[in-house]
Amino acid sequence: MSQLKNFTKGFVQENPVFVLFLGLCPVLGTTTSAINGMGMGLATTFVLTMSNVIVSLIKNFIPDKVRIPSFIVIIASFVTIVELTMQAFTPVLFDALGLFIPLIVVNCIVLGRAEAFASKNTFLTSVIDGFGMGLGFTLALVMLGGVREILGSGSLFGIKFIQGDGMILFVLAPGAFIVLGYLIMLMQKLKSKSA
């Protein structure tokens, strides 16, 4: 697999949200607007890339049986770093994302990639994989956030383009599920057409 393909596979073909159905809680929980989705996506991308880096570096020194706990510690460390940094420098976004920042640690894609990819691949490949997957995740979050924002608030990235409110349901919990459902359907159609 070329590195380019390795990088882009997370966008559509192996998109963690639309295809692998992993890490869905933050996807639903933080996408009331495109910008929030983006923030969450980037935070996850950071953790994903960094933990892939470390895991791929130390993979040969870790005994099999403590593989998962070690990975968890590594991931959790990066999550805490993100947490602390965001708290210090982007407190508003931190508040908006709330509980879901610490929950990156249990986000299935992060551990999943570390376990399934980084622990078997070289440094460079793992970095690219982590970054690509992270961007794919971010893409999904921005799409979902964007659609919900457009329908729910009549704006995109905070820029209003209709008078008054949108359909409030889409900013609320049910809207998240419904929009994601239809997005997954569209992406699956897209994928099966491109494949």
């Binding site: 770093i81 708290q87 210090a88 609320l172």
Partner: protein, 192 residues
Amino acid sequence: MAKKESTLINMLVALFVVTFGASTALGFIYQITKEPIAAAKLARKLDAIQNVLPEFTNNPNSETYKMPIDGDTLRFYPAKKDNELVGTAVETFTKQGFSGEIKIMVGLLPDGAIYNVAVLEHKETPGLGDKMERKKSDWITQFEGKNPKDFNISVKKDGGDIDAITASTISSRAFCEAVNRAYNAYMEGGKK
């Protein structure tokens, strides 16, 4: 990928090294971010106070005092300019919100008139109750400069002078309750 056999010793060592490394790194990061985090927190509080009060020069946060009320507490932040009280920011709350507690900051001038009001925290519905936020609509400006002594802080439906947010009487009513709580507490001994 069972490259490495697992023995008790190497498991212990590996995990120890990993946790040791992680905790050291975290410890340091914490040291680094500690200040900015505290600063950010303070800045937000001062920001809120500044929003609701005229100019001041002291640090109201360091002169805070509390008053227990209705099973919770109100916090008072006296703002002084050149050591003279220019107003007090009252952190108040209501539990009558549409979906739970609403926390607001009310800036009261020494005579009890409202200088300004700001929302600190709420869970009201986006598109409805959240119009109390300044950035969502200018509903909140109604309160500016009104003195509850001669301006009835309650929604028109209840015979007051406040226009409710469209279709959000509940939120508006709750908001008024919070403002009144601050005002009453302030007048009944909260003024220091």
